[in-house]
Symmetry: C2
Subunit: 469 residues, 2 copies
C-alpha cells in the first residue's frame, strides 16, 4: 500500500499541523481534563477526553479517551487501542471493559478499578473510529458510508492533531494495538504513519510496534478457521462440518470479493449451524457463561442459582457499561455527546454503513510492508474465540513468515505467567510474534486480564514471552 | 462377541453362585460396613468396602467401595463405575475425586462432602479392576499379565458374587458407567452380562444402560482426533500438525495391530510435539491450571501468588488423595490392603502388565451388539480433554449410528443446566446418545460436577438432555 497521489493534500495538511508541535507548551489541554467520573474510585493519574475535529468542513469529529500511566507517565510510551466491528467503540470496549483503568460497577452507577489495567505500563489512548461510532460523529451524513481507506486517513489526521494537543507525548515511543476488525484498522494506520514519515520534513511518528488480538487478516483463512473451531470445540455436528467442507468454498468467495453470494447449499448449512450452536452461547468465548436473559434470570433468582460471574469474569459487564455510558452526568464528565446525538450510546454503531467489501482485503501484504520497515508485529489470540479463532491467525502468521522468508527464532512453546501456562508462542525472525492466551476470549484483556497485561508488558519491552516461571 | 465355548465353565460357576441369591437375607454384609472414614463429615447413608475373591485357587481378589444413595437407597438403581488406564483405580478416581460422596480435604487428613455426588440419584459401586490395580491383588503374580478378555471375565464373576453378598440389590436396575479406557471395560462387561443372561435359567442381570465418558472406542479415530484437538486448541504448531498429517498414518498402525512400530519420521514429530506442549499443562484438561510443582510453589508462596484452585476446581486433589489413601487408619477403615501389599497405594498401577494390543480392539461392534439388545448407550465427552477428545467420540458415535442405520432423533443442539449451556447433544434412534460437557476435563465429574450429575440423572431417567432452562 503506497501513498496514493490523491492523498498528497492530506499529508500536506498533516505536516502543517505537526510543524507546530515542537514549539507548543507541554501538558494536556485543560478543557479535555476529566475532573472525576461519576462513582469513580480515587486514582493518581490524569484522564482526558474530548473531540478532535478531523474535517472542519464536513463537521467530522472523533471522540477520544486518554488515560495517563499510573506512575511515571512521562517516561512511558503511548499506546493507541482500537476496537473493531467495524463500527464498535474503543472507549466502551477497550477502555471501560477490557484494558483501561476502570470497569463499570455491577449496579451500573459507578466504576471500580481494573487491577490489571494496561496503564500500569503505558499511557493509553482510545478513539471512537470512524465517525458514527460511539460518540464520534459527522455533520455530513454521507460520511457514515465509509471503509478502510477513509478510516485510516481520518485516524492519521486525528493522531496528527492529537499529538499537537498533547505535545509532551509527540516524540514518545508509539505503539498501535487493538483487536478483531482492528486487524484491518491497525496495519492500515501503521502503513499511513510510515508513509507519512517517509515524506515528512520535521516531525515523524515514533512508531515502534503493533500488536493485534484475534485480528481479521485474511477473510478466507479466518472464515474457514471459524467453522473448524466450532466443530473442534463441540458446538456443531460432524454432519454439518462435513457438509461445510463440501459445500462452502470460502476461498472462492473471497477471491471474487463477493462476500454475500454464497451457494444456496452452503447458506442452508450455515443457517442450520446457527441452530446447533443455539442462542445462549457466547461465540466470542465458547466456555464463558452468558449474562442471563432477564426472564431466565428471574426464575433462577427464585431458585438462588443466578450468577453474573463465570470463571471469575463478570459476564454482565456489557449491560452495566451500556447503562453507565447513557447516564447524562457520565457523558458530561467525559465531555462526550456535545452535539446531543439523536440516539443512545451503543457499543456498536447503528448508523454506520461500512463497506462490506473491505472485509475481503488481504492484510498480510500490509503487515509484510510494516515488518520490512523494521516495525515489531505481534499477533495474539484468545484461544476460546470462535469468531476469529487462533488457528486462522496462526496460519496467517506462518504464511506471512514464509512470504518474508523469516526463519523460526522461537519454536512453538508454552509461555508462562504466575507459574502456569498462559498460552503458546512462536517467533519468526526478530520482529514477528504469534501468541495465544489460554482461557481468553475474543476480548483477551476482558477474560484474562493478568495474562493480557503480562503479554502487553512483554510486547512493549521488545523481549520474548517468558519460557518458564 | 459371542460367548466362547471355553468360557462355559465360568458361566456355570456364575450361575451356581447366583442361584443362591433369591434365598439370601437382605442387607449389606456387616463385615464390609464402614464404620466411619477418618476425618469424614457425618452422613445418613451407609458405605461398604472390602474384597470379593474372584478366583480362590489363584488367590485373586478385587477391592470394591459401595456408597448407598443419600436417600431412598432401596428404590434407586445400582450404578457401577470403572476408571480406565488400563490400570487405574476406580476407588481413587471415581469414588474419591470425581462422583463419589467425598473429596479429600486439602490437608489430605480428612474428607469433605461432594455436593454433586452421584449417590443423590443412585447407589454407587466402584471396583479396582483388574487385580493389580489399587488394593486389588492376586497371589499368583502371572495374573498381573492380563488384558480386556480376562478383565471382563473377572468382573462378571465379581458382579455375580457381589450381588450375592448384597442380595437386596440383585434385581435392581443396573447401569454400567465409567471413563477413558472404561470405553473398553464397560461395553465388554455389558456384553458378558448379556451373554450370561441369554443362558441363565433363573437370575439375570437387570442391565438397563451404559454410559461412558471420553472413552477409548476406536484407536485410529481417537488418536488422530487427539492431535487435531491439540492443534485446534493451540497446544501445537501449524508446522507440526501438517507434518503429523503427512507422516503419521494412525489408521495403518491400528489395522496392523502394531501399536509400537510407527515410522521414524512420525515418531520424531510426536516427540517434538511433546516439547511444544511443555510439561506444565494438563493434557486431560487443557485450560485447567496444574498443581504447582513444589519448587515453583515455594517461590510463588513467597510472592503470595500460589493457588490450588483453577476455575473453581482443586487442581491438587490427586496429591491430597494419594496422601489420604496411604494413611494406615484410612486403609483400616476401608478394610483395604488386607494382604499388606509391598507397595504404596497409587492411582495407576505399577505392577500391572496390561496387553498393549488390546488398545487396538474396535469397540464399535460391541456397542452395536449391546444396542441391538435394547440397552441404552450414552457416550459423553468433557470438551477440554485432548487425550480422548470429543471429536473422536462424536465421529465414533456417528459411525456407529450409520452402521446401525439409526436416524437422528435429536439433531445436534445445546443442552442446558442452571440457565447456561452445559454442552451439546445429539440422539440417534431411541437408544444412542452423544453429549459433550462444556468446560469439562477427561474426568468430567471432577471438573464440572453439577453438569455431570445433571447428565447422569438424565441418563438414568431415560429422557433426553434438556432443551432449554
Amino acid at each position: 500500500m503506497d501513498v496514493q497521489p490523491k492523498l498528497q493534500r492530506w499529508l500536506c495538511l498533516v505536516m502543517y499541523i505537526l510543524f507546530g508541535i515542537a514549539v507548543q507548551i507541554s501538558g494536556g489541554p485543560a478543557e479535555d481534563l476529566i475532573d472525576r467520573l461519576p462513582g469513580q474510585p480515587k486514582v493518581n493519574f490524569k484522564q482526558y477526553a474530548g473531540y478532535i475535529t478531523v474535517d472542519e468542513h464536513a463537521g467530522r469529529a472523533l471522540f477520544y479517551y486518554f488515560a495517563e500511566a499510573e506512575d511515571d507517565s512521562d517516561s512511558k510510551p503511548v499506546a493507541l487501542w482500537l476496537n473493531g466491528g467495524p463500527g464498535c467503540s474503543s472507549v466502551g470496549g477497550g477502555a471501560f471493559t477490557e484494558l483501561g483503568p476502570f470497569y463499570p460497577r455491577d449496579d451500573g452507577h459507578g466504576l471500580r478499578k481494573n487491577l490489571q489495567s494496561w496503564n500500569k505500563v503505558s499511557n493509553l489512548l482510545f478513539v471512537e473510529s470512524p465517525a458514527g461510532v460511539g460518540w464520534s460523529y459527522s455533520n455530513t451524513t454521507s460520511d457514515y458510508t465509509c471503509g478502510d481507506e477513509s478510516t485510516a486517513r481520518n485516524m492519521l489526521v486525528f493522531l496528527s492533531k492529537w499529538f499537537k494537543r498533547f505535545p509532551e507525548y509527540a516524540s514518545r515511543d508509539l505503539f498501535l494495538t487493538g483487536e478483531s476488525y482492528a486487524g484491518h484498522y491497525i496495519p492500515q494506520l501503521a502503513n499511513k504513519l510510515l508513509n507519512y514519515n517517509k515524506v515528512a520534513k520535521r516531525y515523524k511518528f515514533n512508531l515502534k510496534g503493533i500488536s493485534i488480538g484475534n485480528p481479521l487478516l485474511s477473510l478466507n483463512v479466518d472464515t474457514a478457521a471459524s467453522y473448524e473451531f466450532l466443530w473442534s470445540h463441540g458446538l456443531i455436528s460432524d454432519e454439518s462440518n462435513i457438509a461445510i467442507l463440501k459445500s462452502c468454498k470460502f476461498d472462492k468467495r473471497i477471491k471474487n470479493v463477493d462476500v454475500i453470494d454464497i451457494s444456496k447449499e452452503c447458506d442452508d448449512i450455515l443457517k442450520q449451524v446457527e441452530q446447533e450452536i443455539g442462542d445462549y452461547v457466547n461465540e466470542y468465548d465458547v466456555i464463558l457463561d452468558v449474562c442471563p436473559p432477564s426472564l431466565i434470570e428471574q426464575e433462577l433468582r427464585l431458585r438462588k442459582k443466578v450468577s453474573h460471574m463465570s470463571l471469575g469474569v463478570d459476564v454482565c459487564m456489557t449491560s452495566e457499561r451500556q447503562f453507565y455510558f447513557n447516564l447524562p452526568n457520565v457523558q458530561k464528565a467525559l465531555h462526550a455527546n456535545r452535539t446531543n446525538l439523536p440516539y443512545d450510546w451503543s457499543m456498536c454503531s447503528n448508523v454506520l454503513n461500512y463497506s462490506g467489501y473491505d472485509e475481503g482485503i488481504d492484510i498480510l501484504p500490509v503487515l509484510k510492508d510494516i515488518i520490512q520497515q523494521g516495525i515489531r508485529v505481534w499477533i495474539f489470540s484468545g484461544d476460546q474465540d470462535s469468531v476469529v479463532p487462533l488457528m486462522g491467525s496462526r496460519t496467517n502468521v506462518r504464511n506471512l513468515a514464509n512470504d518474508l522468508k523469516m526463519s523460526v527464532k522461537v519454536p512453538y512453546r508454552a509461555w508462562y505467567h504466575e507459574g502456569q501456562v498462559a498460552g503458546w508462542t512462536t517467533v519468526y525472525g526478530d520482529l514477528l510474534t504469534f501468541a495465544t492466551v489460554r482461557g481468553a476470549s475474543h476480548m483477551v484483556p476482558y477474560s484474562q486480564p493478568a495474562r493480557a497485561l503480562h503479554l502487553f508488558r512483554t510486547f512493549l519491552s521488545g523481549k520474548d514471552l517468558p519460557d518458564q516461571q
